[in-house]
Symmetry: C2
Subunit: 392 residues, 2 copies
């Protein structure tokens, strides 16, 4: 059986060590990793199977153990280096059953492996630890033995290794190609769904050297009556002359996600739109020039706000967040937010999405830059013209 690993053993060892250090600092003996991003990060396990409960048990000094559904055990053998003994599977009778829950199986496994009275960290605030699964854990272990380990692994993930940055840069090449595909297809008379189809093709086909994979999120590309809302989908309608399209695309390369946002206008830009464009460009430029190791996320936000504010533009929502490994439903890492009050200090290897798009009710503009913090400053992951694209 061929192993499909994306990183070498040294890298996985380093990741596990860092997570164990964070566990030790919190007095956690056993971390029950249920967030699929964190399973992938720590073991390489990568499959569309997170709709059923699956965990990696990471003891403070034991070999990690994967537990999932029987039909996914072969996938675990292919995508991880875990020995067969450390891949444990529950039968299909546990799946979506009214009488059994996979966590019952997981709990038995935890107890059988000697962790009966361990202090157990659960990813309570992460995706995919559902309320029912939590209640099954809470039922099985004393409440003073359960520790909230939400985002513990996510914070370790926030600083990327050179190998991880390589994948982020490959995803950047793919998302640039997809944005260009969008520019090439979006014209009056073309159906929105046909533009979406071409964008998907570019995101998945990737480049001649490497392909893309499914991303955590679909292309967001509202237009027409929906253009000033951020999260609605495309329609069957053809683009109309003069229409605006706000494109938020994201490419995935070995689960590393690089997003890119731009707005396209099928007609003349109003003075108001040009003002928005100038505000966003100046804000992005000022923020990127300011970023370096040692500054905080809140200071980046303030720098953006000051530059955009000179054009009379403010943004109520956060204007960026950390990015990296993702599965649905989001490519945000849920750790760092570029907004007032976030005192996270920038470190080399952090990757964020500077995302100062604005929706002002009657006007909106999307213009974003994913970047990595380097030893000296910020490096944009994408190289794509930073302007409101006007197509006539």
């Amino acid at each position: 059986m061929t192993r499909a690993m994306h990183f070498d053993e040294i890298e996985y060892g380093r990741r596990q060590t860092k997570v164990r250090q964070a566990m030790a600092a919190r007095g956690i003996d056993l971390l029950v990793v249920s967030d699929p991003c964190n399973l992938y990060y720590l073991s390489g396990y990568d499959a569309w199977s997170f709709y059923v409960p699956q965990v990696l048990l990471l003891g403070i000094e034991d070999r990690p153990v994967w537990i999932g559904r029987a039909m996914d055990a072969a996938g675990a053998a292919i995508t991880t280096r875990l020995p067969a003994d450390d891949i444990r599977a529950y039968g299909d009778e546990y799946v979506q059953s009214a009488t059994r829950h996979p966590v019952d199986f997981i709990v038995e496994e935890i107890k059988a492996r000697g962790w009966r009275s361990a202090r157990i960290g659960l990813e309570i605030g992460n995706y995919y630890l559902g309320a029912r699964a939590y209640l099954a854990f809470a039922d099985a272990f004393a409440s003073d033995k359960i520790v909230d380990a939400s985002l513990l692994v996510n914070w370790v993930r926030s600083v990327k290794s050179p190998a991880e940055l390589d994948y982020m840069r490959q995803a950047a090449r793919i998302v640039e190609g997809a944005m260009q595909a969008a520019y090439d297809i979006i014209r009056p008379g073309v159906r929105e769904c046909d533009a979406a189809a071409e964008i998907y093709r570019a995101l998945i086909g990737g480049t001649a050297e490497y392909g893309g994979n499914y991303a955590s999120s679909p292309p967001l590309m509202p237009s027409g009556d929906q253009v000033h809302t951020p999260h609605l989908s495309w329609t069957d309608q053809p683009y109309r002359p003069g229409a605006q399209v706000n494109l938020e695309l994201v490419a995935s390369r070995h689960r590393y996600h690089t997003p890119l946002g731009r707005s396209v206008l099928l007609g003349e830009a109003s003075p108001e739109m040009r003002r928005l464009e100038a505000a966003l460009c100046d804000g992005i430029e000022a923020a990127l020039a300011f970023i370096r190791p040692g500054v905080t996320a809140a200071e980046i936000d303030a720098t953006w706000q000051a530059a955009a504010g000179r054009h009379g533009i403010q943004k109520a929502a956060r204007c960026g967040y950390s990015i990296g490994i993702a599965y649905p439903p989001t490519f945000g890492e849920q750790t760092i937010s570029i907004r007032p009050g976030d005192q996270t200090v920038m470190q080399p290897g952090m990757t964020l999405h500077l995302m100062p798009a604005v929706w002002l009710g009657s006007e909106s503009l999307v213009m974003t830059e994913p970047f990595v913090v380097t030893d000296e400053g910020a490096e944009c992951l994408c190289r794509f013209p930073r302007r409101l694209e006007v197509i006539r």
Copy 2:
């Protein structure tokens, strides 16, 4: 502002009435709907925003209230018929914050609307009611006031209206086109990612009459070393002569999902593969001929097992499940399973995915049929040749 509704007001009213009847039978005064499928079903709300907490409050006799993130309120106004007063939004300071949780806002809204001592139904076992959100509800209300309302709406959804069936049939047309696109592109030397790109293009571009939308799940199409595992993704590698590809595709039309599974072989079929093919075809045929209102899911399973068993084939996992509205991470409705012990009685309008694919370790074959239960029997949603496709 244009409203983008997919059903008329009468249909939404009927759905709400059915859910209120189920609430009354359980003594539930207020249902907190957090599953995005159920928000869509009951209100029409449809956006890629379920990565933050959002709910529909459905009181036993009150107008429904949508609560979500501020930037999504405009999307709620477009995709639902809720009056502005019944669309309530929390600010971005609640999003992924260490000090606030959106459920705090939701709880205040529930109390302010007079439901302080109501019996509250929570979708504890559904996706997207995370452990942290649950704990915030549990903290705010007396434990004897919280009722487990998991899958309550899902069960109402299990019988489709004619309008819903129309969308399932449209999705069937789209997924047939995508399967044909797969047959057309998969050849030795073509990269798996390029085949995936064409499949996506067909799923999203749809037909000349209507487009597709993002589905709950990516195309699953393992090949090469991964072919005998169900949930791994495509790779960058070219297909090799003789390779097998197991295609599990799913199309979405206005969130209604119709899946279709087939296997492709780039070379000669072994006698063993032909035996598998005969077993699956006979099993499907026998099951479809057996299905009619009044029979149970378990009886369908037994019928399939008996027919396939005559070829020496058995399947440990369930061989089907109900389908309909979906968002990631799955297009299964989580209610009916075609397997031993499931005593659900078939009713006209139920839609299921007969999915007797088998993974036997060294051999596997995918062959599936989505169907609707009619007054007289079962109608296949797709019309696509039911055979192991051999491409030379």
